[in-house]
């Protein structure tokens, strides 16, 4: 029997099929856990994120449909929101130190069986290493820490109206740098 694709598995999950949830879990465990870990920087918390994400999937609190794009992108966004939410609930000041590993090129930083992810990560880290510190920082605070528009404006001493532009610029630099490297395919099926 052919393997079910994500959307098919998801609709089985909606019908409360536990095996389908288990399959989805297997498919995404490592990516979602690593991504959660990247955001919350703590193994226990990252596991809590996983738990919440899969409860949301199971209980249908977060609804996916194909209008929302690729299932994997939707799931990653849901995971990011869940992780950010948990960070906020920790009620401590999020630390937004730069993750130095983002700009590492060393092999040991990306020992990974999933080749595409490894390749993607490598290209990304190279691109990140070309960003100015300020730009890396704003991406970190905005994307990985989910800091509010207001907080970012205070942190960077920027008027509210220019924050969005700065973030966009930093992200665009990253993208440009990526496409110079031959780019990262959007068609990856990770």
């Amino acid at each position: 029997m052919r393997e079910l694709n994500d959307a098919e598995l998801y609709s089985k999950v909606q019908a409360k099929n536990k095996e389908a949830l288990s399959s989805l879990y297997d498919r995404y465990e490592k990516l979602l856990y690593s991504f959660s870990y990247r955001i919350v920087k703590d193994g226990g918390l990252a596991e809590e994120v996983m738990q919440e994400v899969f409860i949301k999937l199971w209980k249908g609190k977060a609804q996916y449909n194909e209008e929302k794009g690729k299932f994997s992108s939707w799931l990653l966004t849901m995971t990011r929101h869940t992780a950010i939410d948990l960070l906020r609930k920790q009620a401590k000041e999020p630390d937004y130190e730069l993750d130095e590993r983002d700009a590492l090129h060393s092999e040991e930083a990306s020992v990974e069986d999933q080749v595409e992810w490894k390749e993607r990560g490598k290209v990304l880290r190279t691109a990140v290493s070309k960003l100015k510190g300020e730009q890396r920082k704003i991406i970190e605070m905005f994307y990985f820490k989910g800091m509010t528009h207001k907080r970012i404006s205070e942190e960077f001493d920027l008027p509210l109206g220019t924050v969005k532009g700065r973030i966009r610029l930093a992200l665009k630099h990253l993208k440009t740098s990526l496409s110079e490297k031959g780019g990262v395919s959007d068609e990856s099926k990770l």
Partner: protein, 253 residues
């Protein structure tokens, strides 16, 4: 820029309140600029998750996560904690993800029969609707070795059932209880399998607010065992190697 448009970043990060979120989504319908900016943000950040360094998931995380997911349906408290669990628990306790074990009608049936018998005048409907297993189609995968009703030690209202089932050569003990007292602090109800007078740990649980609790445990003790009895004690925490508390429910096997 309109006030609403300023919320785009917080909307993207999911940090708006529900009310704000709804309002912003209504705004999105009418604001093409925001729609385009949102789409652009999604495209520009689409690769960023892959910046994460691959981390090795902790041992047993799948069992813990799925157990808590499926328990979230029944309202039973989850065993998943932040702490790194001991290997023993990781491998054995809370393997509820193979829910057939929990929903196996073959063992639910004796429980039901007993409930009917015990409470002919009671609210059987409640039990049936909450029994959680009766509506699903039986999947005949594991076979029942033995099912027993657990007897309360004192004149308490507690009741429960235990079933030993074998599945793919593995032995599982499934315990379900009703009307047990709430636990305090780190207290847990520990299930034991007894061979002669030697107790073996066989899973633990904390009941929900309605006094219901359940646990499925994969019995993996080396060698052949001929279990004589199953018992549940109230323990100060989940680390007891031998029973410290009094027996709450038990039955011969």
């Amino acid at each position: 820029m309109k006030v609403n448009c300023e919320q785009l970043l917080d909307y993207f990060n999911g940090t708006l309140s529900n009310e704000e979120k709804e309002r912003f989504e209504a705004h999105l319908v009418s604001c093409e600029e925001c729609r385009e900016e949102l789409k652009e943000l999604e495209e520009l950040t689409g690769d960023l998750p892959y910046l994460s360094i691959p981390e090795e998931p902790p041992a047993g995380m799948k069992e813990r996560v799925l157990a808590s997911v499926f328990e979230s349906d029944t309202g039973t408290k989850s065993h998943t904690t932040n702490e790194k669990p001991k290997v023993e628990q990781t491998n054995n306790v809370a393997t509820l993800q193979t829910d057939r074990k929990m929903k196996q009608p073959k063992w639910i049936a004796p429980a039901l029969a007993a409930a009917l018998f015990l409470s002919l005048t009671g609210n059987v409907y409640n039990f049936v609707s909450e029994g959680d297993g009766e509506t699903s189609q039986p999947e005949d995968i594991s076979s029942l070795v033995k099912a027993v009703q657990l007897q309360p030690s004192e004149a308490e209202a507690s009741a429960g059932s235990a079933a030993l089932m074998s599945e793919d050569g593995k032995m599982n003990l499934v315990v379900q209880v009703n009307d047990v007292a709430e636990t305090e602090g780190d207290q847990v109800y520990q299930v034991w399998l007894l061979e002669g007078d030697k107790p073996y740990r066989a899973g633990y649980f904390t009941p929900n607010q309605e006094g219901k609790g359940e646990v499925a445990y994969e019995v993996e003790y080396e060698g052949d065992h001929d279990w004589d009895a199953v018992a549940i004690t109230l323990e100060p925490d989940h680390t007891s190697e031998t029973p410290k508390g009094k027996i709450v429910l038990s039955s011969g096997l």
